[in-house]
């Protein structure tokens, strides 16, 4: 049977073969992700650039502003670094928008849409490769933290668990920015559109200073938004349950759950949005 089928297939469809949707989706996602990672390996300056800004923030807050910020009970650097991790993940997500907008503008997405590949592969492949990049960037930022005196009283395993939360949050954000990138359609606008979305989230948060120092109306927003709860969750994990209760006013579990809820919620809303946007992007 297979011989006959193959003969017909070659005559009618050239070299393309029919595969089960699942096998095709898996290998297509891998192919697209691999393509993005090759680009990353070939332009390592992109990774370096995406860590320059957070490193500057580390140095600035650690050595310039840090002295003026009082956090009860712990050294400021231990408060700062989890915030920096979340900030890095948030701003790093703009890379997804820029990458997709570049592919859209170059006509590559058009070619992908004309190929017998899994429709999901372009977006999933892109977000998965960006997740890999974020793993790398996070590891780098942790090293920077250790260099400036960041300590993890609750152990490295707790830090790794915290990093997983940050990566989950970054993965959710890459879907937000996939939508943005496809909507604006060119890399420069993608970059410009990203900042106004991210700035309030990152700065009106507990990433750099305790929320209690902010005016009341802002606290309501700042205390509950995803950047803050994720930073709090990482701090709670790294500092241990007692410090979490005293410093952050909540249990580790509650912060972790809030952070996961935010990330999953963002994913559930934005992944379908991005897919819809991809379908009519061209």
């Amino acid at each position: 049977m297979t011989t006959t089928t193959n003969a017909t297939t070659t005559a009618e469809t050239g070299l393309s073969t029919q595969r089960s949707p699942f096998a095709s989706a898996y290998s297509d996602i891998l192919a697209v992700a691999q393509r993005n990672l090759i680009a990353l390996r070939r332009t390592p300056q992109l990774v370096v650039f995406s860590t320059i800004q957070p490193v500057i923030f580390v140095l600035m807050f650690r050595y310039v502003f840090g002295g003026a910020i009082r956090v009860p009970g712990i050294p400021y650097v231990d408060y700062l670094m989890p915030g920096i991790f979340v900030q890095t993940a948030a701003f790093g997500a703009m890379g997804t928008a820029i990458g997709l907008a570049t592919d859209l503008k170059s006509g590559l997405l058009e070619r992908f849409q004309s190929l017998p590949m899994a429709r999901s592969a372009v977006l999933v492949g892109r977000t998965v490769s960006d997740l890999f990049r974020n793993v790398f960037v996070m590891a780098l930022m942790a090293c920077v933290g250790f260099l400036v005196g960041f300590r993890v009283p609750n152990g490295l395993v707790a830090l790794v668990f915290g990093m997983l939360l940050v990566l989950l949050f970054s993965y959710a954000l890459t879907w937000v920015f996939a939508t943005v990138g496809l909507a604006v359609g060119d890399p420069e606008s993608a970059q410009a559109a990203g900042f106004p979305v991210l700035a309030p989230l990152v700065f009106a948060s507990s990433a750099f200073v305790p929320v209690s120092s902010m005016p009341g109306w802002l606290q309501a927003f700042a205390a509950h938004q995803p950047v803050s709860v994720t930073a709090s969750a990482v701090r709670a994990l790294v500092l241990g349950p007692d410090a979490a209760q005293q410093l952050l006013g909540g249990s580790t579990a509650s912060f972790v759950l809030q952070s996961v809820a935010w990330s999953v919620g963002i994913l559930l809303v934005c992944a379908p949005l991005a897919v819809a946007r991809y379908r009519r992007a061209l």
């Binding site: 005559a11 029919q18 297509d28 192919a31 170059s106 006509g107 849409q113 190929l115």
Partner: protein, 344 residues
């Protein structure tokens, strides 16, 4: 197998209030080259995007090798190759990596991918550059790689959207030769172009499109014959000589010649043959032109004749054949198109 490779019936696609396709019909027999000829904004690219399953039509029907582009999109995608107006390749990857990526995504059997990539690189003279990132390629090389990418899966139907726009003369001729080779192997090609000359060289059949409609459908030769006009210009030494030439030529051509100073201009349906006749006649009367101009009908002439209005400025035929008439680069064209889409 079916005798009709591409079938388009009453296809309509609107972007907001603009009908990019306004009930377009055509049919392409298997193993032939079909040209969609028209200016920017005529709907050529939209037609290609519907046929490649990138856009869904608002109404009407389109089939590729008997498969509906909407209902059976995956089957269509397995049978087509697409090369667009600009080189849709990844500049961070090497040429070989680009073809490998397309091979994977086109669902080629794994062992077939690398040999196929090598074969195409060889055929498009990219073997030496195969392992260099595409960002180091020249424009012509990128375009060749783009066309190579559209052939990775050996598609029975190839859609080329203005494949030679922005190419230099040698690259263009190479590409034309390549297209002829593919057709000799049985591939069906749909080609969009703004250049009558290109459609004339490659296509057996042409549909002239304007405002999302087919305004003429014929062979290139018939189309040109209907337009009727190679323009021939004799530049004489002096006005009296031109006057004599005008009188002499008037008996031999259907339309009366025009004289402008020392220049005599006339239109001919059968350009080359008539030119020889006229030159002999002039020679017999001792009249030797100082300059000679022959101009084949351009897209502008086609448009003027078929629609009563001129094609957009800046798309007046091949000029010197270097495609320099295309002022806007890929970015500009894209921007214009996105702008139109954005109005939706």
């Amino acid at each position: 197998m079916t005798d009709t490779a591409i079938l388009v019936e009453g296809l309509v696609k609107r972007f907001g209030t603009v009908a990019a396709l306004d009930g377009i019909d055509f049919e392409v027999p298997t193993g032939t080259v079909f040209g969609l000829l028209g200016p920017n904004g005529a709907g050529k690219t939209t037609a290609v995007r519907v046929l490649t399953t990138i856009l869904r039509p608002d109404s009407g029907r389109a089939e590729v090798m008997g498969h509906d582009v909407v209902k059976d999109a995956m089957a269509v995608r397995r049978r087509i190759g697409l090369a667009g107006q600009y080189a849709a390749v990844d500049s961070n990857l090497t040429g070989r990596e680009n073809l490998r990526l397309i091979g994977k995504l086109a669902q080629l059997p794994k062992p077939a991918i690398m040999p196929r990539a090598a074969e195409l690189l060889e055929r498009f003279q990219l073997t030496d550059a195969a392992d260099r990132p595409v960002k180091t390629y020249s424009g012509g090389m990128r375009r060749r790689l783009d066309v190579a990418a559209s052939l990775v899966q050996r598609p029975p139907v190839l859609l080329l959207d203005e494949p030679t726009t922005g190419l230099d003369l040698p690259s263009r001729n190479e590409l034309w030769a390549m297209i002829r080779e593919l057709v000799a192997d049985g591939t069906t090609v749909l080609l969009t172009t703004q250049y009558l000359e290109e459609a004339d060289r490659l296509a057996e059949d042409i549909a002239v499109v304007d405002g999302g409609k087919v305004v003429a459908r014929d062979t290139p030769a018939n189309l040109k014959a209907r337009l009727g006009s190679t323009v021939i210009e004799f530049g004489m030494d002096s006005e009296p000589a031109a006057t004599r030439a005008e009188a002499l030529l008037a008996d031999r051509v259907p339309d009366p010649p025009e004289r402008d100073g020392a220049t005599v201009r006339l239109r001919a349906t059968d350009g080359p043959r008539m030119l020889m006749e006229l030159l002999r006649a002039l020679d017999a009367h001792g009249l030797v032109p100082a300059t000679l101009g022959v101009r084949e009908p351009s897209l502008d002439d086609v448009f003027l004749a078929l629609t009563g209005h001129a094609a957009e400025p800046g798309v007046t035929g091949m000029g010197n054949g270097n495609g320099a008439g295309n002022g806007a680069g890929p970015g500009g064209r894209r921007a214009a198109r996105r702008g139109r889409g954005g109005a939706a």
